[in-house]
């Protein structure tokens, strides 16, 4: 087994893992604010890609303008989703809400299929597609974009949660929603914020990966599940643990496909998920306690 092969597997895995990480963090943010798993998270990834396509091809905007517009449009979709599907049922049990998010994801996917059709669409890369060689392995400029944007988002995320009032308020809600409410934090607003942030992050993930993988109405399902795995590995933390979980998942998948068998690629992800749930339900890096940050 040569070094350049291992390097290629790892680099491919890291960029796929970065996408999983962004989606996983989206899962965690909503989980921490509301205590539910938002299974519609993958659909915001799809919406990011599809809205970019809409602004790019139908409205003929340049790429640099289409991307922010797509992020805004997906975020509005996330906001509407919270207002129309989650908010009216505040007294519902978590299991009801989880089922509602599954219903919501089917609805969003269906609407996307009706408006954009079933075809796969391509989005141009941000800066060309000439491969870059790194010590025998090759990556595309788009991979660098993915890694760079992920790092930026992780840093911004960290600053938001630890150095702003509303970020701290969201963490307070995650620790104890009732106590947070008692000290004057508007819990409902924090829930809305969590949906806004995670749908924006999901759509960014969808946009930066679309030039490599293309986009279609149904890309959200698998990406959503993989992001969920990343969040579980990270113990539902909205910080660095989930990011490492996503990167780990991507690299293991890629190494597994290369070194063991490509037939087991998805199996590897879900075996990891099951192992984590059995052995360390608090996540790979979490302490064994019931509250999660």
């Amino acid at each position: 087994m040569q070094f350049d092969q291992i390097l290629q597997y790892s680099l491919s895995g890291l960029s796929t893992g970065a996408i999983y990480a962004l989606i996983g963090v989206g899962f965690s943010i909503i989980f921490n604010a509301t205590g539910i798993i938002n299974f519609a998270q993958g659909e915001f990834v799809m919406l990011g890609g599809m809205f970019t396509l809409l602004f790019l091809e139908t409205l003929k905007l340049p790429l640099w303008a289409a991307i922010p517009c797509a992020i805004v449009a997906s975020t509005v979709a996330g906001l509407l989703f919270e207002r129309l599907a989650i908010r009216p049922l505040r007294q519902a049990t978590p299991i009801n809400l989880v089922i509602i998010t599954i219903g919501g994801s089917i609805l969003i996917r269906g609407l996307a299929m009706l408006s954009w059709g079933k075809d796969t669409h391509a989005i141009p890369p941000f800066s060309g597609d000439d491969p870059i060689a790194i010590a025998g392995a090759t990556i595309l400029p788009q991979h660098l974009w993915i890694l760079a944007i992920t790092v930026i988002i992780v840093i911004v995320n960290r600053i938001y949660f630890y150095h702003t009032i509303s970020g701290k308020a969201m963490r307070a809600c995650a620790y104890n929603r009732r106590a947070a409410g008692l000290v004057g934090i508007d819990v409902h607003r924090m829930v809305l914020f969590s949906f806004i942030i995670s749908s924006a992050m999901g759509s960014i993930a969808g946009i930066i990966v679309a030039p490599l993988t293309m986009t279609a109405y149904d890309v959200g399902i698998m990406l959503g599940l993989k992001g969920f795995c990343a969040a579980i590995i990270g113990g539902m933390s909205s910080g660095i643990a989930t990011v490492i979980g996503g990167l780990l998942l991507g690299v293991l998948e890629s190494l597994g496909a290369g070194l063991i068998s490509s037939g087991y690629k998805d199996a590897i992800a879900f075996i990891i998920l099951l192992l984590i749930l059995f052995i360390r339900p608090q996540g790979l890096f979490g302490k064994a306690e019931s509250e999660r940050v």
Partner: protein, 381 residues
């Protein structure tokens, strides 16, 4: 008062039944297509094609003065559903002939129903099992799925490429292709040096390709429909792999070149049904006018290019209309006989010469090998 209502109802019923009597010259064609679900890339163009053709034929006054009516159900690619819907088409809708189902699994499940009820079934699936051995009431329009694979291997043999790396998708299309290529390769003396797979929704196949690159095969054969091959083509370019890349007939559409990018797709070689490449085949080709007409009409009706898969439904329709013209009867057994007697019928997938021994009759000559050069097809000799 009650009485007069009863009379009115009686009148209405009589009127309606006489209306059906007048419409005795209508032939009902059943359609079973996987319009939704994972095989929707097959079912959707098939349904649209059939609807378009029925409308066209009716606008021209029908076939032999008979109006056509299509009853189309969506099987969602589910064999159980396909069987239920086939029974419904036969028992409730009383169709004379069924087009579909779209996939091999569904077709195999529906065959016993068609055989038992004695209604001709024209499958739009490629599995060899459907018409081999021959079943009295069952026909199919796509060429057997090993024909496309054989076409590639013959081409490779001519160019002295001996070792093959397989990269196939883990769905019905991919695994069937994988088995066919392995069986044929063993017969013809090729060596399979790598046998990699990937999921239909996988996004990055560089791991598989890196492994293949280290083995240094003479050629890579990828067996999939959209969108996997476009991603693989991009991955191949990213990794700088220079090994010849072959694709299946399932990607023979301009959309593939658009998705992969003309730059990355340069040099990719594949067997294609003539529909995808009608603008590069000689105008003297007997199929040329038909292919052009279909593509134009489909584009006009639905705004997208016609696909090889929609062509399967087109051909089934052609078989039925030629049988109707020949026998002038809508009785299922007459239609069956008419289809079996089809000879030299020029159609989308090829030229049909049915016989009691062969209910498909397409072969190697109905595919062409093409290479993508500068974003367009180039015919290979």
């Amino acid at each position: 008062m009650k009485r007069s209502i009863a009379v009115c109802v009686m009148l209405l019923v009589t009127l309606m039944s006489s209306a059906t009597a007048f419409a005795a010259g209508t032939i009902k064609i059943g359609g079973l297509f996987a319009v939704t679900g994972s095989a929707s890339f097959l079912g959707e163009p098939e349904k649209k094609t059939l609807e378009m053709l029925v409308k066209e034929a009716n606008d021209k006054g029908g076939i032999n003065g008979m109006k056509l009516e299509a009853v189309i159900y969506d099987t969602a690619g589910d064999a159980t559903k396909a069987v239920q819907l086939a029974t419904r088409l036969i028992k409730d809708d009383k169709v004379s002939v069924i087009i579909g189902p779209s996939t091999t699994g569904e077709s195999m499940a529906v065959i016993p129903v068609a055989e038992k009820e004695k209604v001709p079934l024209i499958s739009c699936a490629a599995g060899i099992k459907i018409t081999d051995p021959v079943k009295k009431w069952v026909f199919k329009t796509p060429a057997n799925d090993h024909v496309a694979a054989e076409k590639i291997l013959n081409y490779m043999a001519k160019h002295n490429q001996k070792s093959i790396a397989l990269l196939t998708v883990t769905n019905g299309f991919g695994s069937s292709g994988r088995e066919q290529i392995k069986a044929l390769a063993a017969q013809k003396g090729f060596k399979i040096v790598a046998d990699e797979v990937y999921g239909p929704n996988d996004n990055d196949m560089t791991a598989q390709l890196t492994k293949i690159r280290s083995i240094k095969p003479d050629a890579i054969i990828c067996w999939d429909t959209h969108p996997g091959p476009a991603k693989i083509t991009k991955n191949v370019k990213q990794l700088g792999i220079k090994t010849p890349l072959y694709m299946s007939h399932g990607v023979a559409s301009k959309n593939y070149i658009k998705l992969a990018g003309a730059d990355a797709a340069e040099g990719v070689t594949l067997p294609a049904g003539k529909l995808a490449i009608y603008d590069v085949i000689p105008k003297s080709d007997p199929q040329y006018e038909l292919l052009k007409g279909y593509d134009r009409a489909y584009k006009k009706a639905y705004g997208v290019e016609a696909s090889t898969f929609g062509g399967y439904a087109y051909d089934a329709f052609l078989l039925i209309s030629s049988a109707l013209k020949k026998t002038g009867s809508t009785a299922p057994d007459k239609i069956r006989d008419g289809i079996e007697q089809t000879s030299r019928l020029i159609s989308i997938s090829g030229i049909f010469n049915m016989s009691p021994k062969d209910h498909n009759s397409l072969g190697l000559t109905d595919f062409e090998m093409v290479r993508i050069v500068k974003g367009d097809w180039q015919l290979l000799k």
